[in-house]
């Protein structure tokens, strides 16, 4: 299969992008975001879960929360490039929401290809939200690793153990839990309020997200909730990985573009030595480098999204590239955005820290730049022989 030259980004995709940009600009300007998530600056504050549920309902009414659910199951079933472009817009406003968690879950469920998974997709289409409980305490992104075990019998499964670094855990209705049994890795759909499920909120740097450990203690689920049988769960996760990496990278591109535009605007107006600081090449050139890195990452995001739609055999490599570029780009742009705001950039009242912290979170989530380069090196160069 080959990719269309224009990434498959046509009139429909553009319309969605324009509409989303308009919607979020109106609903969530920086001040509104600050009031929503920045009320408590105490570094020892209790873990919070702050988001605008009303806005989420509006998004659901517009069909935006089911965009990764195929139309056959009642979703709006949009292309990868459309979803990436939409998520980019949510990154641009640092939207706190279970969108990414739900989109990621939708991709994993679609990759399962079972009747059980399809019925969960229908639940998402019916405005349920979902999140992935797939990471262990060591922060492994490998589809084979988990600290949750499953005992599977003919008509049910019982889960025990802890999932770590679960994203937007307090915003979602159900979890897709990665658990290991004798027959291998399976995926299990578990209601967030099921007996035996305990959400233990993490205290995190990012103000626009919530994260938690989720403990499963003798959680019993019916066979109809085994969305990927033991031995198949890791395959579904591997198949969905390119989409997961692409979408978080898209979020990062949106956030970085906000950082760029905000920093440029400040550099044009902030006067020192009788000139706007953007006059000085010590500021101007690194700001240009922000733009260059954003454009590189953004092009790789749409390449990966297009590969998901049209050239799935290339999607894995393309997604590693996108996330590696986006993580490095985010680190650079975040640092420069704070630095060039000077003393103001170091304060709580300046908006730049909201995006800075979201990017810190994004940089490591689902693997940092060096991790994805190492993965890509395995693919392109071959395995690294231990010990040399």
């Amino acid at each position: 299969m080959t990719q269309p030259k224009d990434f498959g980004f046509g009139v429909e995709e553009q319309l969605l992008q324009t509409e989303a940009r308009k919607f979020f600009k109106k609903q969530l300007d920086e001040l509104t975001l600050m009031e929503l998530v920045g009320g408590n600056s105490d570094p020892h504050r209790d873990s919070e879960c702050l988001w605008d549920e009303k806005m989420w309902e509006q998004m659901a009414d517009l069909g935006w929360t089911t965009m990764a659910v195929p139309e056959a199951f009642g979703g709006t079933g949009m292309s990868g490039v459309a979803v990436a472009s939409f998520i980019e817009e949510t990154g641009r406003v640092a939207l706190p929401s279970p969108l990414m968690a739900t989109v990621n879950s939708s991709y994993v469920l679609s990759a399962c290809g079972t009747d059980e998974a399809d019925s969960v997709l229908k639940e998402i289409a019916g405005d349920k939200t979902a999140g992935l409980a797939i990471t262990n305490q060591k922060g492994s992104w490998c589809s084979m690793d988990t600290d949750v075990s499953a005992v599977v019998t003919e008509d049910k499964a019982t889960l025990n153990g802890m999932a770590w670094f679960v994203q937007d855990a307090r915003k979602v209705d159900l979890f897709l839990v990665k658990a290991e049994s004798e027959a291998g890795i399976g995926l299990y759909a578990v209601s967030a309020d099921a007996p035996g499920v305990t959400i233990l909120p993490d205290s995190i740097v990012d103000l626009t997200r919530d994260q938690a450990r989720v403990n499963f203690e003798g959680v019993a689920i019916g066979a109809d909730k085994i969305v990927a049988a033991p031995g198949k769960g890791n395959l579904a996760l591997d198949a969905a990985e390119p989409a997961i990496l692409t979408m978080i990278s898209a979020d990062m591109c949106g956030a970085a573009e906000w950082q760029l535009q905000t920093t440029v605007a400040y550099a044009k107006t902030r006067m020192q030595f009788e000139r706007p600081i953007g006059f000085f090449q010590a500021v101007k050139h690194p700001v240009v480098n922000m733009m260059i890195m954003i454009d590189c990452a953004r092009s790789l995001v749409f390449n990966a999204a297009c590969a998901i739609d049209h050239e799935p055999e290339q999607a894995k490599a393309a997604a590693h590239m996108a996330k590696a570029a986006a993580s490095d780009m985010a680190a650079f742009c975040s640092g420069r955005s704070v630095q060039y705001h000077g003393g103001m950039g170091f304060t709580w009242e300046c908006f730049v820290h909201l995006f800075f912290k979201r990017q810190i979170h994004n940089q490591v989530l689902f693997g940092d730049a060096a991790y994805h380069r190492a993965e890509l090196a395995e693919m392109l160069i071959g395995p690294l022989v231990a010990g040399g």
Binding site: T2, Q3, P4, K5, D6, F7, G8, F9, E13, Q14, Q17, S85, L260, V264, A267, K268, R275, P276, G278, F279, Q281, K284, H285, V287, V288, N289, M291, I292, D295, C296, A297, R298, S299, L300, F302, N303, M321, A324, A325, D328, A370, R373, A374, L376, A377, L380, I381, G382, L384, V385, G388
Partner: protein, 410 residues
Amino acid sequence: MSEKGKKESPEQIEFREYCREWLSKNTPGDPPVRLPQMAIEITTQAEMDYLVPWQKAAWEAGLCGADYPKAYGGGGRTGCQLIANEEMQRVGTPYFPNVIALGMAAPTILHHGSEELKKRFIPKILSCEEIWCQGFSEPDAGSDLASVQTFAERAGDNWVINGQKIWTSLATFSSWMIILCRTDRSVKHKGLTYFIVPIESYIGKGIEVRPLIKITGETGFNEVFLTDLEIPDKYRLDDVGNGWSVAMTTLIHERGAGPMVTPSAGGRRADDAPGNAMDLIDLARQSERNGRPAAEDPVIRDRMIELIIRQKGFRQSIRRVRVKGLVDNPMRIGLQGKLLFTEIAQEVSALALEIEGAASTLFMNDENAPNKGQWPLMYLNSYGMTIAAGTSEVLRNILGERVLGMPKTK
């Protein structure tokens, strides 16, 4: 190549078929001599003797100058040069030798020249009958191009030019030169006027060309001295005092962002082009450094992949620039092209030296040099690329000012 996506006009579709057909029978054979990496580095008559007939054949067939009006020797087509370029690059034809003329002189004459000049000069540029060079830089006017001092003084219907130009590629082969001169010392940008001047026929009679030796030890560009060179007023492009804006037309085409697509055979496919980061993988598989296989060094692996990713991103940006909705400002990507291409090529060759380890010390004439010493040569040459045609620093100013709207450095 573009079976899907962006719609091609019937003319383009038909022209692409025609190009394929013609190229299937008419590509030149292997060169009798090893060609330099880029056309601006041509230094021998033997190289020219192989390349000039190739450009002429491509022009006669309509592949060189497809979009220029028929009245000026072109094909009179629309949007077809791009097609010809793609098809020539696809089959790996050699580059065209008349690069300065095709990429800079012709579009400048087309936009600013009189009808007489367009008819007189453009056909012979396309056919490669006359080769051109560019007289912009001077010893004291590099990045600050508007400070050129070569002076053109009016003498009745003529102009008398005195001064010195430098870094002049292809001057030893050139019949003509585009030149930026000062005609008024009291103002900077508004004191400039743009001319075309004869070179070959005035050697020893007002023109002197002296080859310069590059950092690599090769020749490839020149100094040109102009002493009381008298030319008629009809060789002036646009108005007196309007030279700066004419020069901008030249420069925007030089940087690949102008309205006219430059005829470009390109030599080889993008993936085979010098400075391709993917080549480093094979190099690393063949190289030992610090006593160990380079391909098993985790730091080398990380840096190779980092460059491969950046190069892929750059190519995807070139793809993205044509997609409405994925670019807010087309200049934003277009103006990054030269900067990124040259900086990535430089980093690729620098990393190649690290991969080669101790063997990277061996230069072209050493029998043990890996790859015949091509990587050290490319690394040295890469600085020509990041300095010429707007240094990376000047290009970052331009991006910051024209795209992001930050205050002008000058």
